[in-house]
């Protein structure tokens, strides 16, 4: 695993790029690293907790479904002087069945204006599921209040969770 905080500008200095192949039981350690690092540069505990939820859930999905085992986690703060955004993205190569499921879930989550109401429907479904929770992405959308985008390039997929950085959150 490599951590590469970049230093070309303020925004890049606050970004993190990790190439990793975590086992499920190692994801918490990466989340804790993210929380520790952003406590130093963002000074917004609520925003950091939202980023941590997104990073943890996306990395767990990657650990479960990546066909190669390898993933790339990127946390970026972008926008310069324009309205800034924080994004948490994980890229990997999932199996085709998972890819279709992923596209369907993100499409469903993107169609609603009321993420909380849809999340409650996911919770009702989860209560009766035998395998898996099916909650990770919905949790990012509803609890972390981040929008979700999926980008597909051949067999590679990148799931990005994004939220505006409020003016008072400027580091």
């Amino acid at each position: 695993m490599t951590a590469v905080p970049k230093g070309e500008s303020d925004c890049e200095a606050q970004s993190v790029d990790l190439a990793c192949a975590p086992e499920l039981d190692q994801v918490s350690s990466i989340r804790e690293f993210i929380e520790s690092y952003y406590r130093l540069v963002l000074h917004d505990p609520d925003l950091i907790s939202r980023m941590a939820i997104a990073a943890h859930e996306l990395l767990e999905n990657a650990a479960k479904y990546s066909t190669t085992g390898g993933s790339r986690l990127r946390i970026a703060i972008t926008g310069g002087t324009a309205p800034r955004t924080v994004s948490v993205s994980v890229s990997n190569r999932p199996d085709p069945a998972r890819l279709e499921e992923l596209k369907g879930t993100i499409s469903e989550l993107g169609r609603t204006d009321d993420a909380g109401e849809l999340y409650q429907a996911y919770l009702e479904r989860a209560a009766r599921r035998e395998e898996g929770s099916g909650l990770g992405l919905a949790r990012i959308r509803a609890e972390a209040e981040m929008s979700l985008v999926v980008e597909i390039d051949g067999n590679n997929v990148c799931v990005k969770a994004e939220t505006p950085l409020q003016p008072e959150e400027k580091p």
Binding site: L24, V27, S28, S49, A52, E57, E60, G116, A144
Partner: protein, 122 residues
Amino acid sequence: MTELVSISDAKFSARATHVGAGILLELTGAADATAKRNLARMLGEIHEHAKALGAEEVRMDIRRLTFMNSSCFKDVITWLDRARADARYRITFLSSATQHWQKRSLHALSCFARDLVSIEAS
């Protein structure tokens, strides 16, 4: 005070005790994929203990819980669903204002089981 069930892993521990007319369940550490292996079983056992003891309330203290992943969250949801169906005891979450994820997750839980769940923040 009688210990009912406990689990302890490297980064997560849980302990349930019978206290007065209720059960106190204390979770510590990070409830992630490792904790998932035991949490579902433990919550099932607590549900059975609560019914057998005629408990009026289960108090779940998560003030020292630093994170809960969606798999463990699903186990809590399943437990709430069973408790909601039986309607024999209420559930109170003791949360910490400094664990920011808790406010968001507990809000979702309270919406899921509005008549069953209450939250005490400190």
